[in-house]
């Protein structure tokens, strides 16, 4: 329904824009200047001109001429200063037209799902070009190579490089390089020679004056797959990640090949084919190596510089994004300066710098970088396609030859297909996941040509390449054919062939869990089998990176924290975002009883109601997206669970499945997770080996002894045990305390976000033993945040648990003036109800954690709060706990007492923190799930022994063995 209306609106707007902007132009410009157009002026006004083939240098006289022309008369009240603002004005209007066009296309859902945006933009460009042509009898605008190579292409490549999924890219690096180098060479030679053959056979008209070199040159520029076109088309098709990264990676990397071939042939054409010596061919090969490797090196050098600079931007956060843009762009320009492969340089600068930059800069800068890059890339893409369309209208630039056009179309298609099949056949011998026939079809079909080819062909020197006009026409046709016809049909083709797509559907919980398990299994099996393939070298690289590069490029605080705190923060932020996205659904599902929670939980209902009203109240709103976005209860629950899982599951160490999108942002939390898992596993092994050893010793001692394997076993077990305990204490404790300190220094940075984030972690009192353990282990990280006393006081019982949720309480004070008494009662009752079955087997084990809880009941007695003697404190709290654990209700203080105690508690909590890092952090993060009963019983013993003199009762069996083991 809205389609024709909208389209005509688009056209109307386009016409209006044209009328507004373009018609004054011919009036004020003299006609000699007109063909170059304002866009050319735009880059002549900009600062960089030192690019190959900038056609814009000579335009300034024209502009100045206009200015003189205009400033003739006397004083006017309102002056028409068109020439003064002309250049930026026209650029801005073009950007506006492009952006509005984008909006309009996306109004009609059904239309955009069928027709790719790039097609529409080219069509729009054709229409605009036609209008300009009719109005002016002359084409004012076209895609200037200088503009394209210096401004439009770098924005797109920069975005692609910086957000390139590095893992996926390097996983498929072999295939990408093969297709990019071998494939492009094959395509270009075959196309060139075949066209020459066609010329000899008179299929191509006599008018086309070209010899072998010309055709080879043309073959070189027409054979490279274009990154802009591939991105534009494939992003809408959503083929699976592997397929996408191979095609897209190829389109990026083949730039080196194209640049070299192009330059070599140009020089050959210049000197004439007869003067080419054998040496020159070798020079060509050498040139290829220099261009590609040099480009890559330039990129990596700039990546290092970028990482190094962002180390020191702590005080000037505001210019962090600027550094990113500048240095990535400089990488591109520097490569251009030395005529190396600029695309390669920029890509590798982006890939290389991403990790360090993301770790160094603040969260806000990260968002800024992301959005700015996406915006620029998107607008550059739009402009490129519109200008491609416009350029095609200009008939004076090209000459048609049916033979050449059809031959080229056929040849590039055939050779692409043949090349892909041949290379895939070789590659499949080395690939784990062979590329099957369907993949090959899509890869052949996805070999889109685009603006790079066009810009290159426009750059040709008409003097030397006589057939330039024919080549231009052919290139335009090829680009249009690939982008429009293949771009249009690739979607149905993909559907018809049932190409596995990157599903936008969220995996089910089962899939999510089991796939993680698969990844862990594979990792373990690889370790067991001792494979030293790709993963082995990646491990080596990671070691190098950790020992040298990260030390150099990462901010000291970031490096010392070894990603631990960073990862923690990231998880928190993600959780917080997910909670906000779901309107606090997590909280409602957790059955919370806090009054502040109730107010939070009512928000989603409210928004849902408005959605519902909007949806049903107005029949006009037919936007499918809106309806889709209103989540049903089940969907919401799904996403909630998804987020909880995604945020908390351990990431598999090696096999990393990432989905490419322009918004890709990797997380580095390896370190933290490794430590946790290591400790947990060790603990578990200690358990099992001890118990089995015990049994074995009884049962099989006699047999074993005869075989002589017993001593060996003993010796193998001993070091292992030592490792586990030794690692636990010295490693973990210092790191945590360090974090405490480092956290102070960095606290100011992302304060607001962190506060929100904590809420997710402890939205409720942790009544059970196990959550308490979980909290206790994470408390050293979290608790400093909760120090502001005003935040803590309203919910004092939380302080004992380890990490009070500041956000909750802030909200409580803000939104609902919390009735303290009522809140207290409610929470106590909830505590009571949940903790009434206190899990007898683990009760003893929980002491150290529960002791935290029991501090509050004990708060009114200031004697026990002498912070100097932490050990005595712990023993008292322990004995007290033995007598009356889980006896909150009877100790509910009166309100004033409670206030007092909470105030008192505040400094105590903070003073208690430094002395017992050993107590709070020694219980290793591993929550006691791996070996439920035993595991929990075990590690309290470790530090209890050091702090408490008397063994807790009810712990007889393992305790009695304890000292000998320790």
């Amino acid at each position: 329904m809205p389609k024709p209306g909208l389209l005509s609106a688009a056209l109307l707007f386009g016409v209006a824009a044209i009328v507004l902007v373009l018609f004054p132009l011919p009036a004020s410009t003299d006609s000699g200047d007109g063909t170059r157009g304002p866009v050319a002026l735009a880059h002549s006004a900009a600062e960089e001109r030192a690019a190959p083939g900038v056609a814009a240098e000579d335009e300034e006289p024209g502009g100045q001429h206009q200015q003189q022309h205009q400033h003739g008369g006397g004083y006017k009240v309102v002056q028409w200063e068109w020439s003064y603002v002309q250049t930026p004005y026209i650029i801005a209007i073009w950007l506006l037209v492009a952006s509005v066009a984008k909006i309009l296309f996306h109004f009609s859902q059904r239309f955009t799902t069928v027709v790719p945006e790039s097609c529409m933009l080219i069509l729009l460009g054709l229409v605009l070009g036609g209008i300009v042509l009719i109005a002016n009898k002359k084409q004012l605008y076209q895609l200037e190579p200088a503009l394209f190579f210096l401004f439009l292409l770098p924005t797109i490549v920069g975005d692609a490089g910086y957000f390139m999924p590095a893992r996926l890219f390097f996983d498929n690096l072999g295939a990408i390089l093969t297709y990019a180098v071998v494939g492009t060479l094959w395509n270009s030679f075959c196309t060139g020679f075949s066209l020459y053959a066609a010329k000899v056979l008179n299929v191509i008209d006599e008018k086309v004056q070209a010899d072998l070199m010309d055709f080879l040159l043309f073959g070189a520029l027409i054979s490279a797959v274009d990154p802009v076109a591939v991105l534009a088309v494939f992003e809408e098709v959503h083929v699976n990640d592997t397929l996408f990264i191979i095609v897209f990676g190829e389109s990026l990397v083949n730039d080196a090949v194209t640049v070299v071939l192009y330059k070599v042939y140009i020089s050959f054409v210049e000197v004439g084919p007869k003067n080419v010596q054998t040496v020159d061919y070798f020079k060509g090969v050498a040139s290829f190596l220099i261009v590609s490797i040099g480009g890559t090196l330039v990129g990596l050098v700039f990546a290092v510089i970028l990482g190094f600079i962002t180390r020191f931007t702590k005080k000037v956060r505001i210019i962090e994004p600027l550094f990113v843009f500048l240095l990535v762009y400089l990488a591109y320009l520097t490569a251009e300066l030395f005529s190396l492969s600029a695309i390669l340089s920029m890509t590798f600068c982006g890939i290389g710098a991403n990790k360090y930059v993301e770790a160094n800069i603040s969260q806000k800068s990260r968002t800024t970088v992301k959005y700015t890059m996406k915006t620029l890339a998107s607008i550059a893409e739009t402009i490129i396609f519109i200008f491609l369309g416009i350029s095609a209208v200009d008939k004076s630039k090209w000459a048609w030859d049916t033979g050449l056009v059809s031959c080229t179309l056929v040849f590039i298609f055939i050779f692409r297909a043949v090349g892909v099949v041949g290379q895939t056949w070789v590659l499949n011998r080395f690939r784990l996941v062979p590329l099957d026939k369907i993949d090959q079809v899509v890869m052949s079909y996805g070999g889109l040509r685009g603006a790079v080819a066009f810009a290159l062909v426009v750059l040709l020197d008409g003097e030397q390449v006589k057939a330039k006009d024919y080549f231009v026409a052919t290139t335009i046709v090829v680009v249009f054919f690939t982008v429009m016809f293949q771009g249009l049909t690739i979607k149905p083709l993909v559907k018809w062939l049932k190409v596995p797509r990157s599903t936008s559907r969220k995996p089910t919980i089962n899939e999510e869990i089991h796939e993680r398990a698969f990844d862990h299994i594979l990792t373990a099996v690889e370790d067991i089998a001792g494979l030293q393939g790709y993963h082995h070298w990646r491990d080596k690289w990671e070691q190098f990176d950790k020992n040298y590069l990260s030390k150099l490029l990462l901010r000291k605080s970031v490096y010392r924290k070894s990603e631990l705190w960073e990862a923690y923060q990231k998880i928190n932020i993600r959780d917080a975002i997910s909670v906000i996205d779901q309107g606090g659904n997590v909280l409602t599902s957790a059955r919370l009883s806090l009054p502040s929670m109730a107010s939070r939980a009512s928000f989603p209902e409210f928004t849902n109601v408005t959605n519902y009203l909007r949806e049903n109240g107005s029949g006009v709103c037919l936007d499918l997206q809106v309806i889709d976005n209103v989540p049903g209860a089940k969907v919401e629950e799904d996403t909630e669970t998804h987020h909880v899982l995604a945020g908390n599951l351990y990431k598999p160490r090696r096999r990393y499945q990432s989905h490419y999108s322009r918004h890709f942002m990797p997380l580095g939390e390896k370190e933290r997770q490794d430590r946790e898992v290591f400790q947990r596993n060790m603990k578990y092994r200690m358990e099992s080996s001890k118990s089995t050893r015990h049994k074995r010793h009884k049962k099989e001692r006699s047999i074993k002894k005869r075989h002589g394997s017993d001593p060996k076993e003993e010796s193998t077990e001993k070091p292992r045990r030592n490792v586990s305990w030794h690692d636990k204490e010295p490693v973990l404790v210092p790191v945590d305390s360090e974090d405490d300190k480092a956290e102070h220094s960095e606290k100011d940075e992302d304060e607001g976000i962190t506060f929100v984030a904590r809420k997710v972690e402890t939205p409720k009192p942790r009544p059970k033993s196990v959550p308490a353990a979980v909290e206790a282990s994470s408390s050293p990280l979290a608790s400093p945040l909760s120090r502001p006393p005003s935040v803590d006081t309203p919910l004092p019982w939380k302080g004992g648990v380890g990490s009070p949720p500041p956000c909750v309480s802030v909200e409580a004070t803000k939104i609902i003036p919390v009735d303290l008494q009522q809140a207290w009662n409610q929470s106590i009752s909830s505590l009571e109800s949940i903790s009434s079955p206190p899990a007898p087997p683990s009760a003893d084990a929980v002491h150290p954690r529960i002791s935290a809880l029991s501090r509050i009941p004990g708060a009114p007695r200031p004697a026990s709060y002498t912070p100097s003697s932490s050990s005595s404190f712990f023993s008292t709290s322990n004995t007290q706990l033995v007598q009356g654990s889980f006896l909150f209700p009877e100790k509910i203080p009166k309100e004033e007492e409670e206030d007092e105690s909470s105030h008192e508690l505040q400094p105590l909590m903070s003073t208690l923190k430094p002395p017992p890092p050993a107590t709070t952090s020694a219980p290793p993060p591993p929550p006691p799930g791996s070996a439920p009963g035993q595991g929990r019983r075990k590690h309290p013993r470790v530090f209890l022994r050091s702090l408490v003199s008397a063994p807790p009762p009810g712990n007889t069996e393992p305790w009695s063995r304890g000292p000998t083991q320790l």
Binding site: N510, T523, A524, G530, R685, P927
Partner: protein, 196 residues
């Protein structure tokens, strides 16, 4: 590499293992083992649990111990080379020609079903061919970070079972397990590219 293997394993035994596990894997296996941290000097002898546990990477694998267990036959503490290779063979990628040829009369070890069965056994501790809620919770707790509470984990487990459970016995049978994962590319996600 081949020479070393043949000195340590009898030829016919190698043949047997080849047939069972797929030949390529087996030929080079001793090579892998000599590179690995399993520094068992004699390949045709047995591996003990401790051999596995000495691999440092396994200690930081959340499921490491479960996977080690999967290498050992039930109730035993040792596995011989053949059993070891059999387990490894689960992770051989399925090759195209293999699908048609059907060399082995029985199902090959690296079939989709067997791959899934391997994963299933990791959950199913008591070997009753069902993943109960407790078993699922244990694995989840292993795989999950510390930031997640028991309550949340419990609801996840409940949801997982509820999603997979078709016959209402509040546990996941192997058939249900397969059904739930039918859209997943198990062949790819449970394969390792062993060097040929």
């Amino acid at each position: 590499m081949g020479s070393r293997a043949s000195t340590l394993l009898r030829e016919e035994e190698i043949e047997e293992i080849k047939k069972e596990t797929g030949c390529k894997l087996c030929q080079n296996a001793p090579l892998y083992l000599s590179q690995t941290s399993i520094t068992n000097p004699v390949f045709n002898s047995v591996f003990s649990r401790e051999d596995f546990q000495r691999i440092p990477e396994l200690a930081i694998n959340p499921l490491g111990d479960r996977i080690i267990n999967a290498f050992f036959p039930e109730g035993e503490d040792q596995v011989n080379f053949r059993g070891f290779m059999r387990t490894l063979a689960h992770f051989r990628p399925i090759e195209d020609n293999e699908k048609n040829k059907n060399a082995a009369p029985s199902e090959p070890l690296n079939s989709r079903t067997n791959k899934l069965l391997f994963a299933f056994r990791l959950y199913d501790l008591d070997r009753d061919d069902k993943i109960s809620r407790d078993e699922l919770l244990q694995v989840l707790r292993m795989m999950v970070g510390v930031n997640i509470s028991d309550e949340q984990l419990g609801s996840i487990a409940d949801r997982t079972i509820q999603e997979a459970d078709t016959n209402g016995d509040n546990s996941i049978s192997f058939n249900e397990f397969m059904k739930v994962l039918e859209k997943v590319d198990v062949e790819q996600k449970m394969s390792i590219r062993f060097l040929h």
